[in-house]
Symmetry: C2
Subunit: 229 residues, 2 copies
Amino acid sequence: MALPLTPSRTGQPASDCRVLGLRERKKQRTRDSLVAAAHGLFLRQGYARTTVDEIAANVDVSQRTFFRYFANKEEVALAVLADAEDYFVECLRRRPAEETPLQAMRASITQTWQVMSRDEGSGPGGVQAALELIDLIESTPMLLAAHLRRTIEQEGVVTAILAEREGLDPATDVRPRVLAAAFGAVIRVSHLSWTADTAAHAAGPDGMIAIIERHLDQLGPALAGPWRS
Amino acid sequence: MALPLTPSRTGQPASDCRVLGLRERKKQRTRDSLVAAAHGLFLRQGYARTTVDEIAANVDVSQRTFFRYFANKEEVALAVLADAEDYFVECLRRRPAEETPLQAMRASITQTWQVMSRDEGSGPGGVQAALELIDLIESTPMLLAAHLRRTIEQEGVVTAILAEREGLDPATDVRPRVLAAAFGAVIRVSHLSWTADTAAHAAGPDGMIAIIERHLDQLGPALAGPWRS
DNA sequence: GAACATTATGTCAGCTACTGACATTCGGCA
DNA sequence: TGCCGAATGTCAGTAGCTGACATAATGTTC
């Protein structure tokens, strides 16, 4: 259950040879620097008002190099969340089979946030950066669009995991896909509530967890019968 | 319950004066032409391989004029769905208060698709175009991102309607927001299933309705207990 | 119907995101 | 040391998008 936070993702198939060459380490550093510089600039002066040239100049690389690391400007912004999402997926894969699919999903996010807040400072990520990024995303239409699309892609992965877990064919049984989508939607509205909730902001990751749980608790009731008693 | 399909949206606050001036009618024509031209080009040669210049040239207006009608390239593509979404919202507003929130939502989409397929040919929209567009969206990442963002915005409207319907404050009670989000998610995966389902394509709007209902039916079961019997 | 106010459109110049092609430099390795 | 491949830089170009200003079309008033 220890499951280390992946240090930071290169696009590569994780050659875990420990002794990475100077070349690899340098690439990793450049990538981390770009993410960190971008994050700082975005928060300070806004996403739209920050140019790619500016980010690149901040790390002393050419614009062309920036685009060899990130397919587009959105990607560097969302990179901070990528580790967390990978962790969530990895966590879901290892949940005990006895758990209900929904239970497994729920346990996986709370665990993700908890572990992230424990291992603060690994890579350019960290909880603080992730939380700040969520605020930025929700207030930046372009970023929100890109983030939603990425979320959808992740839902495909989650769907596959759920189907395998339960021994189902996702082409026949729509439940994996439906659960993945509904769950993702609830997480999103939780993020939205978070951005408007100053008290939760003060509570840090725990505040986020609390909000997510509150929303998940209401999923069943929201679907069921009349709301008025 | 008749509720006409809005002919086609200018950005304007619907001055229903019937006798629109020449100016207004001309603008409407230009807008419709742009949407139609864009739709045709996108389907024929793909979204990315179609330039805004090309669309504008097709309607004999300058590129600058195009951007006075649409904020960006995505908007002209998604315009075909805008009418349907407005209709859905309008429909939801008028559902009887006795219905469960979920029932009202469900009735509203099926009704939307049914009415659209009945009133084929009003405006540049029409069911055929809408269905083609859904295929295009699902196969074009950039469009998918933009579409998801628009969907999110619509969810805000839906949330407000549900809250008012049930006499709740959406800031206190999260059920409206959660239901709107979960419902939107199910609609989206339904669209996804549709794109992969050739049989449903052949059935036209009825095929889409069938898929949506199948997914909605599975929403409860997907959330509930263990899936294995 | 002439003169004026409004508004849509065209033109142009410019910024920014992004890409392909080619040259150069740097790390890995014999 | 010297060679190979990978990372980077440079440059030129395309496309989306915007502000500023001029022009033309429409609506209005007398």
